[in-house]
C-alpha cells in the first residue's frame, strides 16, 4: 500500500496572531510552525500501516522553502520520502489541485489529509482531492483499518459514530481518533539522522488559478471590561443586559 500524507505547515497554537500589509497578510515574525495537528494524527496512523503492514509513506506539502523544517520533521518521524510543491498555498482549491497532481503522478492507494488545517480552517482540501481524482472519500475520519483493498473507516457524526466499509483508492479527512494524542511521536535521534538522507523532492506547481483572494483579516475584538453585579441585585443585571448590552 502506498500512502500519501498531506502535511500543512501551521502556526503553533500558542502563537500570537498578527497581520501586516494593511491586515492582508499573516505576520510570520516570531511564529513557530508545526505539522497541522489533524495531519499529525494521520501521519502517526500512516506510520502504523508502515510498521505493521509494510506500507510506504510519502508526505506532501504545498509551500515555500520555509515549510521544509516541518517536512523534515515528518521524515524524522518516519515518512520515507517527501514532496514539496514549490508554491504559496493561496486557497483550498489551489492546494487541492496541486496535491491531486501529486497523487495522480505518484499512484497512491490511500491519501490521508487532516480534515482541516489549524490556520485557515477551510476543511475543503481532502474532499476536493477526492473529487478531482474520482476517489472514495471519508471525512472526519476517526478510525481506519485496511485489509487488502477493503477499508473499514469510522467517522464522527452528530452525537455518535458511523462505521463505513469502502475500498481503496481512498482519500480521508482525518482527525484525532485515528490515533490518540499519547500515540503522537517525538522524532528520535536515529530518525533525525535518517531524515538527513531521505529524499525531499521539490516540484514546481501546475498552472492553475486560485478561486479566491484574501481581501483582509480582522482579529476578534479585544475583551471588554467586566462589570460585576452583586448576586442580590438582579434588577440591575436585567437593566444592564437590556439597555446597555442589548442582549435581552
Amino acid at each position: 500500500m502506498k500512502i500519501l500524507v498531506c502535511i500543512s505547515n501551521v502556526p503553533d497554537t500558542t502563537s500570537k496572531i498578527n497581520f501586516t500589509e494593511g491586515d492582508t497578510k499573516f505576520d510570520t515574525n516570531g511564529v513557530q510552525f508545526v505539522i497541522n495537528p489533524n495531519d499529525e494524527f494521520g501521519l502517526t496512523r500512516a506510520m502504523w500501516f508502515k510498521e505493521k503492514q509494510g506500507a510506504t509513506v510519502h508526505v506532501a506539502n504545498v509551500g515555500g522553502t520555509a515549510t521544509e523544517p516541518t517536512i523534515r520533521k515528518a521524515l524524522a518521524i518516519g515518512a520515507d520520502e517527501a514532496i514539496r510543491v514549490n508554491a504559496e498555498p493561496i486557497d483550498g482549491f489551489y492546494v487541492a489541485q496541486q496535491l491531486a497532481e501529486v497523487v495522480k503522478n505518484g499512484g497512491y492507494d490511500l491519501v490521508i489529509a487532516g480534515r482541516e488545517s489549524l490556520d485557515y480552517n477551510g476543511g475543503m482540501v481532502p474532499g476536493m482531492i477526492a473529487t478531482l481524482l474520482d476517489m472514495n472519500f471519508v471525512n472526519t475520519c476517526t478510525g481506519l483499518e485496511v485489509d487488502g483493498d477493503t477499508v473499514t473507516a469510522t467517522r464522527e457524526i452528530d452525537g455518535g459514530k458511523e462505521k463505513i466499509s469502502t475500498s481503496l483508492p481512498l482519500v480521508i479527512g482525518g482527525q484525532k481518533g485515528l490515533v490518540q494524542e499519547s500515540d503522537l511521536r517525538i522524532p528520535n535521534m536515529r530518525g533525525i539522522m535518517m531524515a538527513r538522507k531521505k529524499a525531499l523532492t521539490v516540484i514546481e506547481p501546475i498552472a492553475v488559478t486560485a478561486a479566491t483572494t484574501d481581501v483582509s483579516f480582522d482579529k476578534p475584538a479585544a475583551k471588554g471590561a467586566v462589570k460585576l453585579i452583586d448576586a442580590d441585585n438582579i434588577d440591575e443585571l436585567i437593566n444592564l443586559l437590556h439597555n446597555e448590552a442589548k442582549a435581552i
Binding site: 500558542t14 516570531g30 521544509e68 523544517p69 523534515r72 520533521k73 524524522a76 517525538i186 522524532p187 528520535n188 535521534m189 536515529r190 533525525i192 539522522m193 531524515a195 538527513r196
Partner: protein
C-alpha cells in the same frame, strides 16, 4: 506539580541563527522533556531518587554522545546541537542534565578521544544506547579544586594494574556500569583507566541527604586493590590535561544547560506575574516586578549569544579552556541569580514543589560548584588575561 506550560523565550530571534537540524534536535528534546520529565521530576526530586526509566528516552533524543561519530553509536551532530540538547534537558532538571553530561563528556568523550579502537567499539555504542551508564572519577575527598594532588594510584603488576584510592562527589556512581577513573602511576603521572562494575574491590556507595541534584544519584568510587586489565588503560593522553580536556567538554554543555534552568524560572515567573493579582492588578504591572523580569530576559539573551558564539568556536576547534570557563561561570551564576529572583516573584508559592523554581535554585548551587567552582573559573580567566598564575 502544575502542568508544564513552558514557552521558550527568544528575545533576539536567535532561532534565525540556528540551522533547520539544530531546531529539529532542540524541539525533539524540548517535547520529550515536557512529556517524560516534567510530569515526574518533582516527585523524584522530593524522594531523592534518580528516575531510571528516563534513561532510554535520554538515549533516544541523542543526549548520550550526540557529537560522537555515527560509527560508534553517536549521532554525529555538531557542538551547537549538543548544547541545545543540554539546554532543554536542564530546563527540566539539572540533575538529569548532569547524568547526560557525565555520560557524554566525561565518559564517552575520553574513551573516544584517548581510547583505543577496541575500547571505542566495546564501550561507545552501549553508552550511546544507555545500555551502559558511566561515571567519571577525578575529585577526591582531599582534592577538589586541586586535582593534581590526587592520591588514587595504580601499580603495574606485570599482567594487570592494581588500583587503590577513593573518589567523591561522583554523579551516576551508584548505578554506573563503568567508570573512567583518573589515577597516578608509580611515576606520579595521571592516566585514565576504565573500571567495570563487578571488578573485585570496586564499590560505589551513594551519598545521601543532598539538598541539591536530588533527582540525580551521587556517590563515591572506592578502589580496594582492584585488578584492572591492562587493555583498560586509556593510552592516548596522560597528565592532568587529559581529564581537563573532558571538563572543557562538560563545562561547555553546562554553559548551555544553565540557560535552560534560567528560562524555566523566567517563564514561570513571567506567567505568574501576569496572573497574580494584588492591590487590584497583576503584580507584573508593578515596577519592582518588571525590573526583575526585564533583567532576567536581558541576562538570558546575553547568555544565549555567549554560548552560540562559543559553539561556533567549538565547531571550528578554536574554543579555548579559558573561553569555556568564562561561559560556564557567567551562565551558571546568571541562572542562579534568576532562580532566586524568580522565587521572589512567586512569593510563598515559589518555595513549594508546585513550581520548579526552588528545585532549580537548589540544583544550581551544585552546578555553580562542580566542574570548576565559581571562584576557580575567575582564576582561569585571570591567568589567561594576565599571564600570571594565581592558583598557588
Amino acid at each position: 506539580m502544575k502542568p508544564d506550560l513552558f514557552e521558550a523565550p527568544d528575545y533576539y530571534n536567535i532561532d534565525d541563527l540556528l540551522s533547520e537540524e539544530h531546531k529539529l534536535v532542540r524541539d525533539a528534546a524540548r517535547q520529550w522533556v515536557k512529556r517524560d520529565v516534567s510530569p515526574i521530576i518533582e516527585e523524584y526530586a522530593q524522594k531523592a531518587e534518580f528516575p531510571k526509566q528516563i534513561i532510554s528516552g535520554l538515549a533516544e533524543i541523542g543526549a548520550f554522545g550526540p557529537y560522537i561519530p555515527e560509527e560508534y553509536g553517536g549521532a554525529g551532530l555538531d557542538q551547537i546541537s549538543y548544547g541545545l540538547i543540554m539546554q532543554e534537558i536542564e530546563r527540566g532538571d539539572s540533575g538529569v542534565r548532569s547524568t547526560a553530561s557525565v555520560q557524554s563528556s566525561l565518559v564517552m568523550y575520553p574513551i573516544y578521544t584517548y581510547g583505543t579502537e577496541e575500547q571505542r567499539k566495546k564501550y561507545l555504542p552501549k553508552l550511546a544506547s544507555g545500555e551502559f551508564m558511566g561515571s567519571f572519577g577525578l575529585t577526591e575527598p582531599n582534592h577538589g579544586s586541586n586535582p593534581s594532588g590526587m592520591e588514587t594510584k595504580y601499580k603495574d603488576m606485570g599482567d594487570h594494574y592494581l588500583l587503590n584510592g577513593a573518589k567523591l562527589w561522583i554523579s551516576n556512581s551508584p548505578f554506573c556500569d563503568i567508570a573512567v577513573v583518573w589515577a597516578k602511576n608509580e611515576d606520579g603521572r595521571i592516566h585514565g583507566l576504565i573500571v567495570e562494575r563487578g571488578m573485585e574491590g570496586f564499590s560505589t556507595p551513594e551519598t545521601h541527604n543532598k539538598w541539591s541534584l536530588r533527582a540525580s544519584a551521587t556517590g563515591e568510587l572506592i578502589f580496594d586493590n582492584v585488578k584492572i586489565p591492562k587493555e583498560n588503560l586509556l593510552p592516548n593522553k596522560s597528565g592532568l590535561g587529559a581529564p581537563l580536556g573532558c571538563l572543557d567538554s562538560a563545562r561547555y554543555g553546562i554553559a548551555w544547560g544553565a540557560i535552560g534552568a534560567a528560562m524555566d524560572c523566567y517563564d514561570t515567573a513571567l506567567r505568574y506575574a501576569k496572573e497574580r493579582i494584588q492591590f487590584g492588578k497583576p503584580i507584573g504591572a508593578y515596577q519592582l516586578q518588571q525590573k526583575k523580569l526585564a533583567e532576567m530576559i536581558t541576562e538570558i539573551t546575553k547568555a544565549q549569544l555567549l554560548v552560540l558564539r562559543l559553539g561556533q568556536l567549538k565547531n571550528q576547534g578554536k574554543a579555548t579552556t579559558a573561553q569555556i570557563s568564562m561561559a560556564k561561570r557567567n551562565n551558571v551564576d546568571m541562572a542562579l541569580t534568576i532562580a532566586r529572583e524568580a522565587r521572589q516573584v512567586l512569593g510563598a508559592m515559589g518555595i513549594t514543589g508546585e513550581y520548579s523554581i526552588m528545585r532549580h535554585m537548589m540544583n544550581l548551587e551544585s552546578v555553580i560548584t562542580y566542574e570548576g567552582t565559581h571562584d576557580i573559573h575567575l582564576l582561569i580567566t585571570g591567568m589567561d588575561i594576565t599571564g600570571l598564575n594565581a592558583f598557588k
